[in-house]
């Protein structure tokens, strides 16, 4: 116990919430999450190498990088940082523009100090399609449907 590590759908099925604890101070986690030279070391995915461009770490700063896939294909990516509050939270958008991969995600990440360790909460929010009245507060109806046991409708 004491280590949190899970990723699941929230009440709104387009919102995925993940929690992970790290055994280092949050300043370090924040730094690793906001400096392209660090990001390139862990962003992945597995089997991918990354060529990253430098960027200004400030709101509206854009991080451009190329993921070199094991299939020999290059994947152009763009991440725009909307919010940077050192060392508590960041929020960024993935995608946008015809010249990059069709990823449409908004991702807020918070870093909580838990006695010298760090709890990172990240959300993946699918963009577009106009959100409903208040999706985040809508109560989930969890059902087990056709064996899809973590499908939260």
């Amino acid at each position: 116990m004491g280590v949190k590590n899970n990723i699941d759908l929230d009440g709104d099925p387009r919102v995925i919430v993940g929690v992970r604890d790290f055994d280092v101070p949050r300043e370090l986690v924040f730094e690793a999450w906001t400096d392209p030279k660090h990001l390139a070391q862990w962003w992945g995915p597995d089997g991918f190498a990354i060529t990253t461009h430098p960027f200004d770490m400030r709101p509206k700063g854009i991080w451009r990088f190329v993921m070199h896939g094991p299939d020999g294909r290059d994947y152009e990516n763009r991440i725009t940082f909307d919010e940077i509050v050192k060392p508590e939270r960041i929020a960024y958008r993935h995608g946008g523009g015809d010249d990059v991969e069709p990823v449409q995600f908004r991702t807020p990440v918070t870093f909580e100090d838990i006695g010298g360790r760090t709890r990172a909460r990240h959300q993946g929010i699918r963009r577009g399609q106009g959100l409903g009245a208040d999706p985040l507060s809508s109560r989930p109806i969890c059902s087990r449907i056709g064996g899809l046991n973590f499908m939260c409708l």
Partner: protein
């Protein structure tokens, strides 16, 4: 499942009423009027939701002229399920790598290196 189809599915799932309709249909097929009963809604309003669900491939309607039973289509849900699994795998691997990398960083930069214990904590 192609991305645009998946987006349509997610958009359909975004509405709590539609999710409740699906939860009801998970119990078995039923008529529109029966479906409308627990909701404080007119039949046309419910029909509108059903059309969205049908377009997203989440439900199918029977062909009988009068009684057009609605039933849930598991394939579209399976698409969401597969997609979530893919997302989960990506992030779990990503955060595993971050975890390793942070330990390296701390070992290098940390002013007072802590006892490093590899693997999961008890």
């Amino acid at each position: 499942m192609p991305q645009d189809r998946l987006s349509t599915t997610f958009a359909a799932l975004a509405d709590p009423t539609r999710r409740a309709i699906l939860a009801r249909l998970a119990l078995g097929q039923t008529s529109v009027s029966e479906l409308a009963e627990p909701f404080d809604m007119s039949l046309p309003a419910v029909s509108k939701h059903l059309k969205v669900l049908e377009r997203a491939g989440l439900i199918a309607r029977g062909r009988e002229a009068q009684w057009r039973p609605c039933k849930i289509e598991l394939n579209a849900l399976k698409g969401v399920d597969d997609w979530l699994e893919e997302y989960r795998r990506l992030w779990e691997q990503r955060l595993d790598r971050l975890d390793d990398y942070l330990r390296e960083l701390q070992a290098k930069e940390g002013p007072k290196p802590r006892e490093t214990k590899r693997g999961r904590k008890k």
